[in-house]
Structures are given as C-alpha cells and as structure tokens.
Amino acid sequence: MNNKPASHGGIVILLSFAIALILCMVQIPDYLKMYRPEFVTLILIYWCIALPHRVGILTGWSVGFLLDIQMDSLLGLHAVALAITAYLAYKLHARIRLYPLLQQSLIILLLVTLSQMLILWINGISGHAHGNWSYWMPALSSMFSWPWIFYLMRTIRRMYGVN
C-alpha cells in the first residue's frame, strides 16, 4: 500500500469515509429511504480509482465492517460486498479513469448492483431476503449521483493534495 513515499492526506480519506458513513444513517423522510445512494460504496470506488496504490480491498473490507456494525447487519456482510467492489474497481481503475463521465456512471451502476446482489444473496442464505423491486433503487440513485460525487471528490483531492 505504501509504495509511494510522499503519500499524505490520509486524514482526508478517513474523513471522507466517516462522512459517507454518516450520510448513510442521517434520518430522511420515509418515502426517500428507498432512494438513498450507497455513499460508502461510491466514495470507496472513487478512492480505488483515484489512488489505487493506497485504497484497495483491505480498506473496502474495513469500511464494510464498520458499516455492518452501524447497520446492525450480519458481521461481514457489507465487508465482503465492499471488498469485492473494491477489488473490481481496483482491477478496472485504469479503464474507468479514461471513460467519459456517462460511461463511468454506467460502470458504477454495475458495481453497486453487484454489491447489492451479493448482500441480497447472503441475506437470502441467512433468511432475511427482501424481494422487492425497490431494493435496487439505491443502485440507480448511486448512478445518478456519481458525477456530482466524482467532481466533489476530485476537487477535494486536488485541494488537499491527497496522493
């Protein structure tokens, strides 16, 4: 993870994850709950694309673990999903970087859907699956919020010189 000696701004990365975790549990009206984007996944994918040498599977796993604690889900559920998402984002980072924003959003849709599918499977195995079309809504809303998050995070990254 530390093959670049001049890596700094770890605080910014940590803070961004903390804010994403907070955004995942801020109370919003009931009818909007289904559409809450997966902020943690988005931030994780962003850092995986921008700084693949620093943020990767391990980070994904740890953040997912915290999300599990926070959401009170089965321990390891979000951890696995986010670790796999991070792995895919890491594998694809060179390509995703070159894509125009629209295409990036589609990739995001794919990645978030995949992580949600994993969560649904594991939930299904442990007996709490919720079969409902609105379950996939966060993937769509994540896709639509990706351009904003991308610009925001890029500005923040450049401003604080995180590399």
């Binding site: 907070i22 549990m25 926070q70 009170d72 390891g76 670790a83």
Partner: protein
C-alpha cells in the same frame, strides 16, 4: 475472503462476536451522534419556536392529565394491594412491578427493510440482549445487540420478529408477527372460527419468558376469514408509537425465566413471602 465467510457464519450461528460488535459500536457511536444532529436540531428549533401561548396550553393539558392519572392511580394502589392479598391467599406468586429504565432513541436510519432503532443506553447501563422495550402506549420491541454506550433494538414490526400475545377479552393465546411495514403486525395461525373480533386488544402473554405479561401490544384492525384458507388472516396495529417515540422504557427484569412446575411448587411451599 475466507475469513469473511467464516465471520459471516460465526455471526449467524453463534453469539461469539457479541463483544467484537459492542467494541466497534464504540467507534460508530460518535458518527451516530453526528448523524442524529440534523434531526435533533429540527426538534430543538421546534421547541424554541413554540409560542408562549401554546406552551401554556400544553402545560395546562399536562396538568389535567396528571390529575386524572393520579386519581386513577389511587384506585390502582388499592386494587394492587387487593390483588397481592388475593394472590397470597391463593399461594401463587407473581411479580407485579417491573423496574424501568428510561432511554432515548438516537435519530439514525438503519436498513430500510428492517425495523430497528438505536437507543442511547448500553452495557454500561446493564442493558442485555433480549431486554423488552416499551413506550407509554405499549410494547415496542427488544434489544438485540447491546453495545457499550448504545444498543440496537428490533421493533415488533420487523419481519423477523414474533411476540407471544393473548387477546385481552378472552385470554386466547397466539403469536404476533411483524410485517416489515410501519406499525402493522399479523397473526398468522389462528383458525377461521377463532374468537377474535375487530378492535380486540392484544396484550403480552408472558409466555416465552422474554416479555413481561400484561402489556398492550396491538389492536386488531382487520380480519380476513377466507374459507379456502386454513387460517384467518388478522392484521393488527401496534399500540406503541413505534415511529415517533423519542423516550423509551427498558424493563429491567431480574429473573424472568420460566420455572419448572415442581420447582415452583417447592419454592412456594417453602417460602410465602410474596
């Protein structure tokens, strides 16, 4: 990857990760506090912007309410004394008072497909898993994962929750399942000819030894008796204000385990101090 799968299986089948969970809960707690601030600010603003007049009227209504409740309580004390006397005559003991602890809910959202809340009391306040939670109007749910300073609790409306109840009118016992929808519960296994009516109050039966007996849980609002189905479909609405209550009560039960009949008899014949 393998480690995660082991973790998943361990957590699903055993209770071993309880301490891990409560420890990491401590890390999450500040985040939860921050996340609940917008909601708290809303409540605070609401309180600040309340006009003087409305506060006075509210205060007045509380006062009359208090008077009424006190009057009822006078009657209740004499009834309670009578009840204890009668029970001692019958040589049957039953706990009449439950100790309560007040907790506040932390305004955070969890998984939208589950019905869960977070409360601001944890193991430090001797909260334990399975502890019943209620508000002023009825049973709300139970603690599932006690953290150190905060715990998560499952509401009775969660689809994976079931609570043993009885009908207040005739004592018919059944089990009430959560539906996942806010405030609605379901009785799944009452036969079509069971004596249940619209408006029946369902109270806890105390079976299972987890919930104290006699607290209101839900009111029947819809009964579908389909002759083609083996069971009637009964929908009930929770009496507790599940989605609104900020203050909740936790029942501190000392010893709520079901006893063997023989054990109970020897105990009661041995000592009759209750």
């Amino acid at each position: 990857m393998v480690f995660s799968i082991i973790l998943l299986i361990t957590d699903h089948h055993t209770n071993m990760l309880r301490n891990v969970r409560s420890f990491f809960n401590l890390i999450i707690y500040p985040l939860q506090t921050i996340a609940s601030t917008p909601a708290n600010i809303g409540i605070w603003l609401n309180e600040q912007l309340d006009s003087h007049q409305s506060l006075i009227t509210e205060n007045e209504s509380y006062r009359t309410n208090n008077l009424l409740l006190k009057a009822q309580l006078q009657k209740f004390t004499s009834l309670q004394a009578e009840n204890i006397r009668l029970r001692s005559l019958l040589k049957s003991s039953r706990k009449l008072k439950d100790q309560m602890l007040i907790a506040e809910t932390i305004a955070v959202d969890l998984d939208p497909y589950k019905r869960q809340i977070v409360i601001n009391k944890g193991q430090r306040h001797s909260i334990y898993a399975g502890q019943p939670i209620l508000d002023a109007y009825g049973i709300m749910g139970q603690v599932i994962h006690p953290g150190i300073v905060s715990s998560s609790a499952i509401l009775i409306t969660d689809p994976s929750h079931a609570i043993p109840v009885q009908i207040n009118r005739n004592g018919l016992r059944t089990v009430l399942y959560g539906t996942g929808a806010a405030n609605y519960l379901e009785v799944q296994n009452l036969p079509n000819n069971a004596d249940i009516e619209l408006g029946d109050l369902l109270i806890t039966s105390g079976l299972g030894g987890r919930f104290p007996e006699g607290y209101p849980v839900a009111k029947v609002i819809n009964i579908i008796r389909d002759p083609g189905q083996p069971f009637a479909k009964v929908i009930a609405e929770a009496t507790a204000h599940l989605e609104q209550s900020r203050e909740v009560l936790l029942v501190m039960a000392q010893e709520n385990k079901p006893q063997l009949l023989s054990e109970q008899i020897t105990k009661e014949s041995g000592s009759s101090d209750e």
